[in-house]
Symmetry: C2
Subunit: 342 residues, 2 copies
Amino acid sequence: MNRENPTIYDIASEAGVSIATVSRVLRGESSVSEKTRIKVEETIARRNYRPSSIARGLTSKVTHSLGIVLPKLLNPHYAMIFTGAQEEARKNGCTVSLFPWASLHTSAYDPALMLADRRLDGVIVCVEYLPPDQTEQLLSSLRELRKFMPVVLIGCVPPEYDFPAIINNNAALMREIVAYLVSLGHERIAFIGGVQEDTDALRRDVGYEDGLRQAKLPYIASYRVYGKATPEEGKKALDSILGHLKKEYWPTAVIALNDLVAMGCQLSAREHGLRLPQDLSVVGCDDLFCAPYLTPPLTSVNPHQQKMGARAVQMLLNGENTREESDWEMVIRDSCAEVSKK
Amino acid sequence: MNRENPTIYDIASEAGVSIATVSRVLRGESSVSEKTRIKVEETIARRNYRPSSIARGLTSKVTHSLGIVLPKLLNPHYAMIFTGAQEEARKNGCTVSLFPWASLHTSAYDPALMLADRRLDGVIVCVEYLPPDQTEQLLSSLRELRKFMPVVLIGCVPPEYDFPAIINNNAALMREIVAYLVSLGHERIAFIGGVQEDTDALRRDVGYEDGLRQAKLPYIASYRVYGKATPEEGKKALDSILGHLKKEYWPTAVIALNDLVAMGCQLSAREHGLRLPQDLSVVGCDDLFCAPYLTPPLTSVNPHQQKMGARAVQMLLNGENTREESDWEMVIRDSCAEVSKK
DNA sequence: CTGAAAGCGCTTACAG
DNA sequence: CTGAAAGCGCTTACAG
């Protein structure tokens, strides 16, 4: 492997011009004569010369690389955001690097700042639940980071975060889901998932309760079970509802925090001998690729993740400093049924 | 936003030392006296100084950033590889940037070489099926790329690719799956998915046919349907088998190229009134997170994607130039049943 | 143990 | 239209 690649000096001397001229044809400046441009381009091609973006970054202060901070890539929800961001970045000649969320809030050696070292052109941070004490630390990390590069947040961003952001209107989303289930005749609607103190869960609870109120349905505490947004926890949660309540009080519908939780609920329901969707309607959120292939195909809310990712990149690159609400749509499949009349 | 961050000069002058000394404490050299080290560290902390990795990269030739080229992040299979790579990279102080596969083989403006510009410390390329003419181009792109940085390949790498690689032994894997199904009494075993000319499909076909031969079962061409590795194509493929054959010839088991294809097969089977798994056993591959939540929970092959990603990073960082086989294990769930005796 | 100086590979005024 | 020169923010011999 020949790692001795030519530099701008090699090209300049071989083409018989100065490095300034080479730099000009590299950047497509029009002030170069046809003749010397061709000469330079020819030797660039012949030598397979590629200018170092590192050196460019040093002088021009632009690195054409962005960062994205994700809780976990394994949840396709985040993979979709990443993909949207990556595609938009690519259109603008930028790449995007992945940073683990941990680096932002652990008190380990290198907090937010291993990002800062990178001198990125900007970074997208997908926020997720944190215990209160760590929230404090995250915020100050982000403030520090912002001194080095633009930052935009995605997710259910708490109001005290004074950053440009794309936020989910989780309250409105929950209201719509509840209304949909009510329209199918459901009166016992459970809501599963979310960490109790988290902004996300808080906003969802608001919408959930709003929805119930609007339908003149009582809020029943046993129907609200908190937990992490995983299939396992979703299963556990529904297990506990079904285990603690007499059958006549069992919910006829359950709203899951996301599709992962919904998958766990479906499993729990099946294990309890419930027929889906006749005995239990389930609604998820995020509209993962597998939603149509679950049994029954899962009704979910599509939050347009790729669009969010792409929009975040635009905000970063345009220096927009706004707080926007992302849009979403319900995707009705077969996991909800009209409640059966007794 | 104050983008005027201090440089090593600022720190040096404020601490009353030379930039060489600051550089030394930055890199933890022991040859610095306790006293000046403390003095320097104090002013670094006070000014929130972060050395620029860009400038460092220029001098030291090490950028601490890796690249990964993926067909698509939306298939969790690749997200897992990425995650494994990212975690291993992190342990070594590196980040990893995502590059779309397209950039490697389209004849667009910037072929493989937008990667080269980045002067990465190495890049992982996950290979996937390409039409023969593009294969040629990919190979030459990779050879060019390799002049700039170490490259390791992951996947079903064709033998003519003379690169360090982590390869899947797809033939052995297929043999094991066939043997498993045979042990359940199956004799009519279909195999769905894969692009016919592709190395991956080729290797799998070898294993599939080996397996049949070993069980003294005939190879029946109608049971082998090619197609892209998506749920939609998987469904179409099984639809066509079930549509063209009399019921008595329907397969009792189907091996899907991957879990995505398997999901489509399950759907097709259900639509044709087949009970799963009694009437049709299904085996997938990749062991995606949703496999346990499909109906029935899908038996699949886990290829240890995170391990592959991590190993690839090690090879890159250690300059290992080997061709390794990745290991894997079958995860038996409930999607396969003994074939029902007539 | 510490500093002066060269160099990494570019871009960007500034002259001409 | 083109070149000489300074500068981007570091690291690394080389002296001392």
